[in-house]
C-alpha cells in the first residue's frame, strides 16, 4: 500500500501479510467495511476473498497465537486504509453510522457504498469538525486520539490508555451517537 494520503481514495487492492503469507484484499466500498467493523479483530479475514479466507483460517488455526496475529493485522489494516490509528478510524466509522452522522453525510451527498473507506472516514471527520471553534475541535481531536486501554505499541510503551468506555461516553455526548469499540 502507498504511503501518501492518496490511499484514502484508492480503488486498488490492499496487501496484508498474515503469518508470513501475502494476501491482496480486493477493493471494497466504505459500506462493506462498516458492516464488517463489528468483527474488528478478524477484519482482515472478513475483507478477503472467500478463497483467501480459507487459507487465512488454516494459517491462523495453525499458529498458537493465531488470534493475536489476526487481531494485529486487522487493526493495522484499518489504520492503513484510513491513514489514522485504528481506534480513530473505528470511532469515526462508528460515528458515521449514528443516525445524526449518517443523516448529515447523506445530505452532503456521501454514499457509503460508492466511496472508499478512507474517503468516508475523512468526510466524517470533516462533518464533526467543520463548524467547531478551536476549543471544540481540539477537544474532539483529543478524545478521538486517546488509544483504548488494551492498545500497546512502541510509541506508547507500557502506558495504559484511558478507560475506553469513558472516552466513548464522552464522544457520544459530544456527537450524539456511537456504539463504541467492541473488539
Amino acid at each position: 500500500m502507498g504511503s501518501s494520503d492518496a490511499v484514502l481514495i484508492s480503488r486498488e487492492p490492499v496487501e496484508v501479510v498474515l503469518a508470513g503469507a501475502r494476501f491482496l484484499l480486493p477493493y471494497a466500498p466504505a459500506g462493506q467495511w462498516i458492516v464488517q467493523l463489528e468483527w474488528l479483530d478478524t477484519l482482515a479475514a472478513r475483507m478477503a476473498t472467500p478463497a483467501d479466507r480459507e487459507v487465512m483460517t488454516d494459517l491462523i488455526l495453525d499458529q498458537p497465537n493465531g488470534r493475536d496475529i489476526l487481531r494485529n493485522v486487522s487493526r493495522q489494516l484499518l489504520s492503513a486504509v484510513c491513514r489514522r490509528p485504528w481506534w480513530e478510524a473505528y470511532r469515526l466509522l462508528d460515528l458515521s453510522v449514528s443516525p445524526q452522522g449518517l443523516g448529515h453525510l447523506a445530505l452532503a451527498g456521501m454514499r457509503p457504498w460508492e466511496c472508499a473507506v478512507g474517503e468516508w472516514c475523512a468526510a466524517t471527520y470533516a462533518l464533526y469538525t467543520r463548524d467547531a471553534d478551536d476549543k471544540s475541535r481540539l477537544q474532539f481531536d483529543f478524545r478521538l486520539s486517546i488509544p483504548p486501554r488494551d492498545h500497546r505499541d512502541n510509541g506508547w510503551g507500557d502506558e495504559r490508555g484511558d478507560d475506553p468506555e469513558e472516552i466513548e461516553r464522552a464522544m457520544a455526548k459530544m456527537t450524539g451517537g456511537g456504539r463504541g469499540i467492541t473488539g
Binding site: W39, D41, T42, A45, R46, P50, R53, E54, M56, T57, D58, I60, L61, G66, R67, L70
Partner: protein, 96 residues
C-alpha cells in the same frame, strides 16, 4: 479440574455426557466463527471439539444425527457454550 468429570446435557432430546471443554478449544471455535470461515472449516473445528468432549461412542451417534441434518452447526455451537458454562459454574462452586 477433575478430568474425569462429565456433564450430562441434552442435545435435541437426547442426553450426552460431555467432558470439559478447554478455553483454548472454545477460543478456536469462536475464532473460526468470527472469521466468517466456510462451513467446511467451521465444521472441522467444531466436530473435533465435540468428538473430544463427547467421546468416540457418543460421537458416532451424534455424527449420524449431524449427517441426517437433525443437528445443525448452530445447535452444536450453542451446546458447546452450554457445556463451557456448566463447566465454569462447577469450577466456581467447588472454589467456594
Amino acid at each position: 479440574m477433575d478430568d474425569t468429570k462429565t456433564f450430562k446435557i441434552q442435545l435435541k432430546g437426547r442426553a450426552y455426557d460431555w467432558a470439559p471443554i478447554t478455553p483454548a478449544q472454545l477460543e478456536r471455535m469462536q475464532l473460526v466463527l468470527a472469521m466468517d470461515a466456510s462451513s467446511e472449516r467451521i465444521l472441522r473445528v467444531i466436530t473435533r471439539i465435540v468428538a473430544a468432549s463427547a467421546g468416540p461412542e457418543q460421537w458416532e451417534t451424534l455424527s449420524d444425527r449431524i449427517v441426517d441434518g437433525e443437528i445443525g452447526m448452530d445447535d452444536l455451537v450453542e451446546h458447546l457454550h452450554k457445556v463451557a458454562q456448566r463447566m465454569a459454574k462447577d469450577t466456581k462452586a467447588r472454589g467456594k
